[in-house]
Symmetry: C2
Subunit: 177 residues, 2 copies
């Protein structure tokens, strides 16, 4: 399974592409950030963000896109930019028919470090180890995007089993799955 992770942000949007299956060594296919100029107007920033994300999708053709779920505890200005960047990422993926899954920051941290409260350094260290990199990816947004992709690959079997159980339940009840 090839997953493109997105750590959304309007100034720096982290992107990481990981391939693999749960229980086997994972491979990093690409990592980077899409940047938009903070002094440009919002419309142009969103167009630049769309162009950048499209390039990543076009180059790597992921089967799944995993996006960090935006949360309330940030201040409102940050949340706005994050929500806007994540909207562009989800739009681009869905337009191509690529399924999008949201993961909370604590799900991601728990998946790669074992603790939902791990700090950035710990996440970076585990991403480096799990992908057998020479050094933690920079900036931190890029490492977080890789962690999202890893989290998605590892959680996918459980999610698929759940979907199959729901489908089987509906089939038994005579509904279409």
């Amino acid at each position: 399974m090839r997953v493109l992770g997105v750590d959304p942000g309007l100034t720096r949007c982290g992107i990481g592409v990981v391939e693999g299956v749960a229980g086997r060594p994972l491979t990093m296919l690409g990592v980077g950030v899409v940047r938009t100029p903070a002094d440009a107007d919002i419309g142009h920033r969103l167009v630049a963000m769309e162009r950048g994300i499209e390039e990543w999708l076009e180059t790597h053709r992921p089967e799944r896109v995993a996006v960090e779920r935006v949360f309330s505890q940030h201040n409102v200005r940050t949340v706005m930019g994050t929500a806007q960047a994540s909207a562009v990422a989800m739009l681009c993926a869905s337009r191509r028919g690529i399924p999008v899954t949201l993961h909370t920051p604590s799900e991601v941290k728990a998946a790669v470090t074992g603790s939902g409260r791990a700090d950035k350094a710990q996440v970076g260290a585990m991403v480096t180890r799990l992908l057998r990199l020479d050094a933690p990816p920079r900036p931190a947004d890029a490492a977080d995007a890789l962690a999202l992709a890893i989290c998605h690959i590892w959680r996918a079997p459980a999610q698929n089993r759940l979907q199959q159980a729901v489908a089987a339940h509906h089939a038994r009840k005579g509904h279409t799955a």
Copy 2:
């Protein structure tokens, strides 16, 4: 000047198209809402929103798009949907090279009723009067979108004068405007 106003929302996004210049009677060219199903996944809702807004832009070819500035006082869940819908609207407009302007709710209320604290009924009544309609547009999101477009047309002369002053200042200083 033909302006398309957007009152952003993921479940109901109000759209209103108004033509005219400040100081002259205004004409409503269209009003409605783009709806996306609340039970669909977010990616599909954003794709549906993009398609709906593109149809409005294609049909009416506005010279300007005015979008309500999203604010902090709403609850976070509402703000997220609003931010995502407004991101799609700004992206669609900017991709077509249409300038986008954000107006705060109080700017819009003050423009059409004289008070930044006017309620929805008052805004609806003034939109009805200013556009010489038989009844207030429904739902309220549609009336708000028309109010945004009216606000933009009326504020535009001041904004243009400001832009011209800035340009003249730069020209005097020997900068490119």
